[in-house]
Subunit: 107 residues, 2 copies
DNA sequence: TTATTGTACAATCAAATGGTTGTATCAGAG
DNA sequence: CTCTGATACAACCATTTGATTGTACAATAA
């Protein structure tokens, strides 16, 4: 999880991920899009790969980068859990409030 | 966004966030739970605060840390967009496949 | 008042990050 | 075979991160 979120914590990498989810692109095609060296883009891809947010597949002499939705879903699930925790807090507060209600009138 | 994801890229911070979403806790209460110095925990809280994933509110001499779900939702929305991009790719492929279908029989 | 508790903040340090350039390799074009 | 394009990888450097300790201060307890 640490790796997933760390990989997502950079706009260039998020942009790369977006593109690889939408189309098949090689590392050099990606590199052309950004104002940094080929090696820098290569490293960004490596970080995404380390988080398994993308995979690389050789095609001829280039490596096609493909976004991996499953990994993104894992992050989604974690965030959803936070949402659930929040709601469970609300529920718990509701219970506490109910317990502190005045006793029902004595018929 | 960078800050949100970076803040989430650490298990201690995710744990702190979980706890602050569920109950009201002070910084020192949090610090007691982890095998690191008070100052270290304080810094983790500061990172979460910088990402506006939590807010601090003075109560007596302690500062209560409260999780902020809105910010988490922003991250969720971003991940959902990746999901949409993925699906739009599928749609686009479907269209391409449809276009390359053999012409309908000549009757 | 004095001691204690909870917090803030600065200085410090090792390790990780994000970028660079340079070199090597490998597949395809001429 | 030779040249070129695409990639991999190492070395290097500046900045940031994650942790520490130490100091200072505000709020509460004794």
């Amino acid at each position: 999880m640490n790796r997933i979120f760390r990989a997502l914590a950079d706009s260039t990498r998020r942009d790369i991920l977006r593109r690889t989810l939408f189309t098949d692109v090689s590392v050099s095609q990606l590199a052309d899009s950004y104002e940094m060296s080929f090696a820098a883009v290569q490293k960004h891809v490596a970080v995404l790969e380390g988080a398994r947010l993308v995979t690389k597949e050789p095609r001829g002499r280039e490596r096609m980068v493909r976004g991996n939705l499953d990994r993104i879903r894992q992050a989604q699930i974690l965030l959803d859990r936070f949402d659930e925790i929040w709601r469970s807090r609300i529920d718990r507060l509701d219970i506490l409030l109910a317990e502190s209600d005045p006793a029902p009138p004595d018929t």
